[in-house]
Symmetry: D2
Subunit: 288 residues, 4 copies
Amino acid sequence: MSGTASKVGTLLVQGPHRKGIVTSVSQVLNGHGATILDSNHYSDAPAKLFFQRLQFDVSTLATDRVTLEKEFREICENAGMSWRVWYADRAKRVAILTSKQDHCLYDLLIRHRNRELACDISMVISNHPDAGPIARHFNVPFHHLPVTTDTKARQEAAAAELIDRAGVDLIVLARYMQILSPAFVTRYPMRIINIHHSFLPAFVGGNAYRQAHEKGVKMIGATSHYVTAELDQGPIIEQSTVRCAHRDSVEDLTRKGRDLEKQVLAQAVRWHVEDRVLVYSGKTVVFD
Amino acid sequence: MSGTASKVGTLLVQGPHRKGIVTSVSQVLNGHGATILDSNHYSDAPAKLFFQRLQFDVSTLATDRVTLEKEFREICENAGMSWRVWYADRAKRVAILTSKQDHCLYDLLIRHRNRELACDISMVISNHPDAGPIARHFNVPFHHLPVTTDTKARQEAAAAELIDRAGVDLIVLARYMQILSPAFVTRYPMRIINIHHSFLPAFVGGNAYRQAHEKGVKMIGATSHYVTAELDQGPIIEQSTVRCAHRDSVEDLTRKGRDLEKQVLAQAVRWHVEDRVLVYSGKTVVFD
Amino acid sequence: MSGTASKVGTLLVQGPHRKGIVTSVSQVLNGHGATILDSNHYSDAPAKLFFQRLQFDVSTLATDRVTLEKEFREICENAGMSWRVWYADRAKRVAILTSKQDHCLYDLLIRHRNRELACDISMVISNHPDAGPIARHFNVPFHHLPVTTDTKARQEAAAAELIDRAGVDLIVLARYMQILSPAFVTRYPMRIINIHHSFLPAFVGGNAYRQAHEKGVKMIGATSHYVTAELDQGPIIEQSTVRCAHRDSVEDLTRKGRDLEKQVLAQAVRWHVEDRVLVYSGKTVVFD
Amino acid sequence: MSGTASKVGTLLVQGPHRKGIVTSVSQVLNGHGATILDSNHYSDAPAKLFFQRLQFDVSTLATDRVTLEKEFREICENAGMSWRVWYADRAKRVAILTSKQDHCLYDLLIRHRNRELACDISMVISNHPDAGPIARHFNVPFHHLPVTTDTKARQEAAAAELIDRAGVDLIVLARYMQILSPAFVTRYPMRIINIHHSFLPAFVGGNAYRQAHEKGVKMIGATSHYVTAELDQGPIIEQSTVRCAHRDSVEDLTRKGRDLEKQVLAQAVRWHVEDRVLVYSGKTVVFD
């Protein structure tokens, strides 16, 4: 990410492997005068699937974005592939949902301010008031939306309205301790990222550090994943682990785990907002 | 482990926390003229349990081992604690059981020859003949005990006879691809160590790398544990993980996993033969 | 660290190895009715040195702290050993010195608020005003002490006065970009902890990430150490590393390194305030 | 690496960044009917340099290799870029040089037999006879070439003759404890890989574990690199680290380090024989 980052376009392509697709795409860019800056492919040979991430310099474009995209559409539709393009001069908008634990919230806000995350943080939403002063410290709008079993549908509707009105691209669950309804989840497919405090698929659900302690594992982990209707089962974006020992109490595991949670969530957000993640078969391809 | 290793005694004590137990044990050793070389405690405060590993210099013993142990027994029995003592001049005897995959077998034999493992390797037993030349290369007796569903009980009996006749202290399953019968397992409680090719409790059973690949995890792991009657559920001794990515095929995961398996199994064997592992509540205390 | 943490006393002993010292110390504690909670030894055999960290329950003390310490003094002085004792009900006082980069500052303040660090943070001192709002957000007194080459001696004197008046036990350099004078350093022996942004002894001095980038290393590191008169040469307390690759620019290394710096510095501070670190021969013993 | 690995061609290109080079290369392959299987680019933007690794399916080639390479040559020479191509049906030939320590030798031979390394191992050369039985166990030709200060030139000449006569592509120094002469080194540029037992640039030269122990580092490392005329200064291919502690003696560090050395050397050899490594400015680009 240099000073010319704002002139960068990113094209993501995925679908059935077709001979010549690499050449066609690069010819289109060449024809429009757009210099290719970076390109990565991945082929899942057994599944006969192809994935590509390609970055190009928009500033050298001889035509315009609409014309360029029209050609991408033609090539990809003919090849039965899905595609999307993003320009760095339009930063993605992120909404953070959180509860009482604030380590991931602080972490994302600090990284954002240190320019580690190429996005705008549009708002912080919490079911508790505690996050308010934190959001204000970083000059981010804060919305307190308390929730009970009875008011859950209404609270989610209020959150969705805030999110949609602001044109939010990505929802980040930064230790948000509420299970989102299927209706909410399916409204934002592959646009909600959660951090789970275990090395999934081990220790699904709540109290993962307690589960780990009782099992006597020698490492704990954290997992960031897209949220799907099935709890803790969405496509995994990033995982990390750290050693622990018999001496570690549940509190020690929780403390060690916080460091993992922060890094693993921030990494997933960073990759997502930089258009590095593609999803298929319940898994992710990450062009890091 | 220096040149005086052979003069070292190791005392392991575990049981309900009793005031004064640390002092009593050190007084006994002092009284017998045995210098304390190293001492580690661990208290599981919520469970009110106490664990100690203590190393002492046998060469300065003013009395003898029998008298010393008699006093240990009295103190520990009075306190309701279990204990065991081991002297480095009596190396533990290890039997390795293996099948076709030879990376863990080689690894243990090479480490043993490089003096990383303070034990004797008494024999290699395999249900396949392939390990024979490897055992011979390292001058270790080899026993080929083929097995079918029908002959399993007899094969295990033959193995047990070889093991018992040689006074084997520890059985190491170095990618032994047979599930041992409950009868065999219960005969050697906390004396059989297995290596499982996943980060337990994730991916129990066979084909763990395939399971990991299908789930799309971003790290794979390996786990060494004592074998109990319940498959892959025994007390965990050591675990390790390594990063993987969408590019990694099942074969790549298998290759990366082999490095983990070797290290995690060897670490567990090393800790066991150095009397660093205590078991309680299905978990291990490792004084590393 | 449980709810009884405030009743814990910690004794650190180091010096020439003496037979019977373990027993003597535990007898003293026993005699005063203080239950031993945890105990760790380390012997540097070639150097004939002995180190012990022992935690005991002060609440069961039959006598008082002054009497207890008098006996410790006698035993240790007779054995030619140095010792110190600390009680958890007197939290250590910490001063943080920082400059413009705020990631370590935020990290320490957040961890402190999350009760990860068993100390008081008495003040933040900076040669830049930027840290002011951060300190205020966490309700920590802030002192802006600008510095130029000409005013350095006076600025350090002002800092020392603030530090001494508040009875500060530990000075933490959280990316403080000034080299402290030998006079200042020697005033606080083994009481100043710095974070260096490399895997020492590689890449001493400034621009460590640039040095690493130019060398083409495949991992970068961070090192926390006590500050001594010789730049970046003090006893190392903790180190950590993370993978990097040819794709990583100096900015990427800096970003990755920030995560290391935060963790490695916080770990050192945590160990220090919990009296887990002893120093000898330019190295540390860490009872973790 | 699947069953079709032998039909794979790998093209490596590096040089000044030229607009359209990606398109040109893919057009050539397309024109010859060769399906692109995988492609990776890297641009060093500040240096205006471009690197590409491209794998294609040779079995679908409509023309022949000579014609294809002729076009590669034209395109690359016009663009001022260097290039090389390799076909998987011609396995690279590797010579291993070793001394007394055998852990890296065993490791490479076992990995080779387990098909982790896509090369032939043509010979083992050692200045000690000990490696002979190991080489024989794996059916690899062994040459004992003892060396003294006086015979060094002759010994190197004998080694070079064996190496050249066998058409060796890569020389691996698997703990070869002799410093090769500049004459020998310059004869095989970027074709000699060494394993150094430290995290370079820390602890250059001999006794690296002792140096690390004296410094009191909290992690040790290993580094594989191409050998150049300047000792331990060649382009780094891979590094790894592992935690250590004050309890670790030099022997413990040596033991822990062996695991690093094995993995780091094997990784470098694997990447080299799969044509994943490019060198520029004393650094490597690794397309892993």
